[in-house]
Amino acid sequence: MSNQTETMPKTRISPADILKKIFVRLGILPFLLLIAVIVFASLSDNFLTGRNLMNVLRQSVYLTIVSMGQMLALLTGGFDLSVGTILALTSVVGATVMASVYAAMPDAIWLAIILGCLAGIAAGTFIGVFNGVGVAFFGVSPFMMSLGMASVGFGLALFLTGGTPVYGMPEAFGNIFGFGTLFGIHAPIYAAVLIALLLYFYLYRTKSGRYFYAVGGNIKAAKLSGISTRKTLLMTYILCALMAALAGMLLTARLDTGEANIGASMPLQSIAACVIAGVSLRGGVGRLENVILGAIFIGLVQNGMNLARMESYLQTVVLGSLLILAVIADQVRLRYVASLKD
């Protein structure tokens, strides 16, 4: 009834308009990525090699997977500050179990690997179950719940290992899941792609996927529409933990040891990856593909700065400024979106 009030000139099409359209549809990240690539390529000859780009991808895998999980928590209007601890706990438990099974049965390599992975992932996911129950059934704020669980889980991880790394996993585990390649592409990348595809399907092709958005958009409305918000919230934190646990196992494969001291920067970095990808901290808004780009962007910038031999302290400053600029740019985009409305 009010379409007629749209005054944007939709008929004239100039190149600037087309750029604007892309800007509006795809967000700011593709542009930022492009700029980053150009800048770093001009600063370092080694940057724009297939080998290094593969390198960037592989390095970003862990943050990407964790960010995808984090996105679920943000979508429903929450947080998960325990993803770092989940990584650590998964690593420690997975490595311990794998090493003991392997020690007991040195021939059953695959049995060891499978049992280890299962144990590790179960341990990590368990934290998510607690988070989910706390948030969904006890109404604890996700911030507090996941912060508390982060502390609890970290204590457990340290307790299990006494602070020393866990070694003795079969070499095959690291060789395959940490460093294996197929057609020149590293195993963790395949894992990430698979996880992303599954999550994409789940989020955008199933009912339950849509409910994450609904719960984050307006939880009362979701309830009144017959959606089980508790189930959705529980699911959110379990899935988020599962993602972090998967990343934890992949990272363990790469490190070849179980470490309690990994993942400390994951919570804030994964949230940052989501936010620059346009995920709203208020819930209900955000696209998976953008989050993946966001995580890769962070990885790419770090890699580029290293290759450009930027000073370490300066890197910190530049990364911080870039994150802010990305969000400001996204703000500008949102104004355009508003002016180009539907």
Partner: protein
């Protein structure tokens, strides 16, 4: 003034801290044959200890005439980032890599990959378990703890009367902390040192200050506060404010400028030095030797000794600390 020749210890067979060791005089190369490109990776560059190592490696690079890039991961929880940085180093064309490792085992895979490209990898300061390393320039942190423990045990042998000691090894989970902890506890066994408290905590000064205070509350009759350099530095003003200076003694198990100042002012009784600067210098020299196919020691480290009030005037701080006012260098062209 040149830093060499310097007395060091060599382990043989290499890569085993329990091997027999012999003392030699170490003399580095005069100049590198060509400006090699070295990459150095540190766990972080947030304290004076690693600043000393940074000083050592960059000074030596300048002296030898090689290029160098120094990267730091930002803390002991950033193992993943260190791996990425190492890969980035290699991607940006480093000829050799020197690593101050975050984890003794966590880097083995990436080292294997780097070595597969025939790039020398030198282990500095922290220790790495990989057998593929080119060489090690380090001492064991366990021995640092042990040296400290021995020093105390010597002051308070069995039968001399029990003294209570609180021990603050550093953040739980870090490799060097666990090593230092086992070294220290092993060395005081059998003496009259009574270990009443082991408090882990981040090496931020405010964290350590809190731990020291709480420990003083819990043990009013404490005789020693022993721990990280940060603990020692944090303890000094606290003890002063409680009029406990002298009654509760302070010892550190490694060396920083603050510890040196404390020693000079008599606020800290003793601290072992591992000659961090020298470890860094030697690592660079070995890397260049390995690149140029010249003979090198596979496993060297400066001899450890405890600095206390007695030998302080003989102590050459430039073997351990960056000079006053040194600001970190990340690239040497």
């Amino acid at each position: 003034a040149d830093w060499f020749p310097v007395q060091v210890q060599v382990w043989e067979p290499a890569f085993d801290m329990n091997s027999p060791r012999r003392d030699i005089n170490y003399t580095p190369l005069e100049k590198a044959a060509k400006p090699w490109d070295l990459c150095v990776s540190f766990p972080h560059m947030k304290d004076a200890y690693w600043l000393g190592v940074d000083y050592g490696v960059t000074e030596e690079a300048k002296r030898l005439g090689v290029k160098m890039q120094v990267v730091e991961a930002g803390g002991y929880t950033e193992l993943n980032k260190q791996i990425s940085q190492l890969e980035d180093c290699v991607a940006s064309g480093a000829d050799a890599v020197i690593i101050g490792a975050i984890s003794a085992d966590g880097l083995n895979n990436v080292i294997k990959e780097i070595r597969a490209k025939n790039i020398p990898v030198i282990d500095v300061i922290n220790g790495i378990s990989s057998p593929e390393l080119t060489a090690k320039s380090l001492v064991s942190f366990g021995e640092m703890g042990a040296k400290t423990g021995e020093y105390l045990a010597k002051q308070h042998p069995a039968g001399s009367g029990k003294v209570k000691v609180a021990w603050f090894p550093g953040p739980s989970g870090a490799g060097w902390v666990e090593a230092g902890n086992s070294g220290f506890t092993g060395a005081i066994a059998g003496s009259d040192i009574e270990l009443v408290e082991t408090k882990y905590g981040d090496t931020g000064k405010e964290v350590q200050a809190k731990l020291v205070e709480d420990t003083l509350e819990a043990h009013p009759d404490l005789a020693y506060v022993v721990g990280t350099a940060v603990t020692a530095e944090a303890a000094i003003p606290i003890l002063r404010s409680r009029d406990l200076t002298g009654q509760v003694k302070v010892a550190s198990y490694y060396f920083t400028p603050g510890v040196e100042q404390g020693l000079r002012r008599g606020q800290i009784v003793a601290a072992p030095t591992d000659s961090t600067v020298l470890q860094g210098r030697i690592a660079v020299d070995i890397a260049v030797r390995a690149l140029e196919g010249k003979p090198y020691e596979k496993h060297v480290g400066p001899a450890l000794y405890v600095v206390d009030g007695d030998n302080l005037k003989d102590f050459d701080a430039s073997s351990t600390l960056a000079p006053k006012g040194f600001s970190p260098i990340f690239t040497v062209e």
